[in-house]
């Protein structure tokens, strides 16, 4: 198993080594090592329960919020150990943002949803600057045109696809370095899904992006690197085109061709 799917040219953003994640005594992720590229979108695929979300959450210590979850091994962001005692977790989660399967806007205005992060992280001084950040984030998330005249309406009043883009805008607003997306389009219709995929395409390069998806075509479309997980193990990691046209591992092939189980 190789941990690197990268050609030498791309720089590595996150390095995970021998990472295991436990829920109580149960091992959900078993000694996984992987390098996540700065300039590429990385897709995590694998059958339900194989540990994709668990592993993703270890990249910004979201597992800390789950009682009896425990992470072993090392994960570094730009070479710095994110589990070291002097790591500011709030700061880490601003640098490594997350977008979830179900859009989860705060029950506040569209504006406040996006402004919240920059405000608590002190990324904008004064109303004018805050408005600037909100507009820029909504633009990047491809939502500005649709909401610019209704910024004071509740975020929860938007459609599912719009809510998901709002959540992406919210993640972008704090100027993160990495965006983790856990099945961001699974609750959306094909058009809204296409918009999210297009957005991922546009965001690529600006942020390191890791996306979990159950949609093989989606993984093939949006990512350049694909990692296949099975029963807590990283089975295969490589160039997305190679994984979907000529996977090396039998288990990968069986899964992506629908011969699993």
């Amino acid at each position: 198993m190789t941990t690197q799917a990268a050609d030498a040219a791309s720089s590595t953003k996150i390095v995970a080594r021998d990472v295991s994640v436990f829920y109580g005594a149960k091992k959900a992720i078993d000694a996984v090592s992987i390098d996540i590229d700065q300039d590429h979108v990385t897709a995590f695929i694998g059958p339900s329960g194989c540990g994709k979300s668990t592993f993703l959450r270890s990249f910004n210590r979201m597992n800390d919020t789950i009682p009896n979850a425990r992470v072993e091994g090392s994960i570094t962001l730009d070479g710095k150990d994110i589990y070291s005692s002097d790591m500011d977790v709030v700061q880490l989660r601003a640098r490594v943002g997350m977008v979830f399967q179900k859009p989860n806007p705060f029950p506040k205005s569209i504006f406040e949803n996006v402004a919240y992060g920059p405000r608590i992280h002190g990324l904008a001084s004064g109303r004018a600057e805050l408005e600037e950040v909100v507009e820029k984030s909504l633009r990047r998330a491809g939502l500005w045109e649709e909401v610019k005249d209704r910024l004071n309406e509740s975020g929860t009043a938007l459609s599912g696809g719009q809510q998901q883009r709002l959540c992406i805008a919210r993640a972008i607003a704090v100027d993160p370095e990495v965006i983790l997306m856990d099945e961001p389009a699974s609750a959306l219709d094909p058009i809204a899904t296409a918009r999210i995929e297009e957005l991922i395409h546009e965001l690529r390069g600006r942020y390191a992006i890791v996306i979990v998806t159950h949609n093989m075509q989606q993984a093939a479309r949006v990512s350049q690197r694909t990692a296949f997980f099975h029963l807590g193990h990283l089975v295969e990691y490589g160039d997305t085109r190679a994984i979907f046209t000529n996977p090396k591992q039998e288990r990968t092939k069986d899964y992506i061709t629908g011969r699993y189980g």
């Binding site: 190789t2 093939a220 000529n246 090396k248 992506i256 629908g258 011969r259 699993y260």
Partner: protein, 234 residues
């Protein structure tokens, strides 16, 4: 190479099975067309030759069926990995087999023109050359049916023999034409027949390369000569 495990969605396997069945039928018809064209040529049997020409329509229809089946498979099943390679290979193989059928038809069409005129020597080499090309077609379809890359390699190795026959027949016919100008028409027809058979060999080789790719994901030209074929290349 063992048949891949069944898909969770059973209808997927059924689609693939049907696709393979159509290709097998096409291949059988093309192979038979070639054999009968050569028999008609040897026996100067214009009627049998006509039947080869007529039967070629069936191959053309089957090619359309393959095209429809592959388009459906891609639209409905979104195949990936070996399934995807196989669907693409099936599409290309069908068009190549259709060409092979055309070459057999072309050979058959020359039979009436060759009815008159005595035997000239290269006529005795053509059946053997045709037999090898026919075997290549047969073998490559077996390779496709069995997803057998080794058999595909074997097909390619036989193409050399067909090429050698062609070169030898070409030289002989040329000599004939120069020495007995009254045989020029007949010799020219035979030259085209030989060329058609040579092309059939080339096309069988193309199919073999597709079968190899579909089965292994690697190009035959890049295949490792011994050593570890299975380990990932990095």
């Amino acid at each position: 190479m063992p048949a891949p495990a069944a898909h969770t969605v059973k209808a997927f396997d059924e689609d693939v099975r049907q696709l393979r069945a159509i290709i097998a039928e096409m291949g059988g018809l093309a192979e038979q067309g070639l054999a009968e064209a050569l028999r008609a040529l040897r026996h100067r049997d214009a009627e049998a030759a006509m039947r080869v020409v007529e039967n070629d329509n069936r191959i053309d229809l089957l090619e359309l069926e393959v095209e429809n089946a592959v388009v459906q498979l891609i639209a409905l099943r979104a195949p990936l990995a070996d399934d995807l390679r196989e669907a693409v290979a099936a599409l290309k193989i069908a068009s190549v087999v259709e060409r092979i059928g055309d070459y057999a038809k072309n050979i058959a069409k020359r039979v009436p023109a060759l009815e008159r005129g005595g035997d000239i020597e290269p006529l005795s080499l053509l059946p053997e050359m045709g037999r090898i090309a026919g075997e290549m077609v047969h073998l490559v379809l077996d390779a496709f049916a069995a997803r057998d890359p080794d058999k595909a390699v074997e097909v390619c190795q036989r193409d050399k023999a067909v090429d050698d026959f062609y070169n030898s027949i070409f030289r002989t016919l040329l000599t004939h034409m120069m020495e007995n100008p009254h045989t020029i028409t007949q010799a020219a027809h035979l030259l085209f027949v030989a060329k058609n058979i040579e092309r059939i060999g080339d096309h069988a080789t193309n199919v073999a390369e597709m079968v190899y790719y579909a089965a292994t994901g690697e190009r035959m030209s890049e295949r490792p000569r011994g050593g570890d074929a299975g380990s990932p290349p990095r």
